[in-house]
């Protein structure tokens, strides 16, 4: 596989593009490595440990004392507590939207009203997450960059 590095202008978005005939395990490993360079969390899936790229995580939920990382297709369990992740991922645009959930603002496609002053976040993954009314104010502030 050839490796080519190309300089681009400031106005263009930096990206790593892999051109391949088929997505092999090796290609997936390279992609995972690139993503992990941007920050990752350790997650467990079916007894195996994985480095989950922060940029792949849509939301994080705490259920019965366990914390889960939700990507578009997979759910990993992590040993970290929700409040620890909230602190750790604050600069990565993760925000608490209910007592038991953190969401990546970059994964929200749109917001619409739900009942009782709550809102629903529609994610790019197609999932819908309820934003608790107690956290709406913080969400508005975060979106305004405050």
């Amino acid at each position: 596989m050839d490796v080519r590095i190309e300089k681009i202008g400031k106005e263009e978005k930096e990206q790593v593009l892999i051109q391949c005939r088929s997505v092999t395990e090796e290609v997936e490993e390279i992609a995972a490595f690139v993503k992990s360079r941007q920050g990752s969390l350790t997650g467990v899936l079916e007894g195996r440990r994985f480095e989950v790229a922060v940029s792949d995580i849509c939301y994080i939920e705490s259920v019965d004392g366990k914390t889960f990382l939700y990507t578009k297709e997979k759910v990993y369990e992590t040993s970290s507590r929700l409040y620890e992740l909230e602190e750790k991922l604050r600069t990565r645009h993760f925000l608490r939207i209910s007592k038991s959930m953190l969401i990546s603002l970059l994964k929200i496609q749109s917001i619409r009203p739900a009942m009782g002053g709550r809102f629903t976040a529609l994610l790019y993954s197609g999932e819908q997450i309820i934003i608790s009314r107690n956290y709406v104010k913080a969400l508005k502030a975060a979106l305004k960059g405050e």
């Binding site: 400031k10 106005e11 263009e12 978005k13 930096e14 645009h93 209910s98 603002l105 970059l106 929200i108 749109s110 917001i111 619409r112 009203p113 739900a114 009942m115 009782g116 002053g117 709550r118 809102f119 309820i130 608790s132 009314r133 107690n134 969400l139 508005k140 975060a142 979106l143 305004k144 960059g145």
Partner: protein
């Protein structure tokens, strides 16, 4: 929810209800008792009704956030209680002709319509809020993309 915040919401609801009850009284009165004459005292009745209708809404208060199912149940309970309050007031009022089933049914129907309208207005308010948040979300994404490029 904080009780103070809850009370402020109820105050907003009170004014919404007063307006809608005034409209309902006008419509029902025009249909069933067009020639009735009232004193200034009658001007207070929509506010009195609104204040009494606010009381059953306290069943929706909870310190912790209610689940969707709990909220729906409590809203339904609230509607039943409000219907009860209005019927009680109608049957004890010397002015309302509760002997006519049509009047009673219209009153109950009006309560349901006002209940639905209030919820529709609240939803429209939230829809406008969601619109503003979506605009901010778009700006947020644009800024994030620009930061990544820069």
């Amino acid at each position: 929810m904080e009780f103070k915040k809850f009370l402020i919401e109820k105050l907003t609801l009170f004014f919404m209800l007063s307006t809608m009850i005034t409209a309902a009284v006008y419509l029902i009165g025009s249909a069933y008792d067009r020639d009735a004459l009232f004193g200034y005292d009658a001007l207070l009745s929509p506010m009195r009704y609104a204040a009494l209708c606010i009381l059953p809404t306290f069943v929706t208060w909870s310190r912790r956030e209610l689940s969707m199912r709990e909220l729906l149940f409590r809203k339904a309970l609230m509607l039943v209680l409000v219907e009860g309050v209005i019927l009680y007031m109608a049957f004890t009022s010397p002015v309302i002709d509760t002997g006519r089933m049509q009047v009673v049914m219209t009153l109950m129907g009006s309560v349901l319509v006002i209940f639905l309208l209030v919820n529709l207005f609240l939803w429209l308010r939230d829809l406008a809020e969601a619109g503003r948040m979506n605009q901010d979300l778009e700006n947020f994404r644009r800024l994030h993309d620009e930061e990544n490029r820069g």
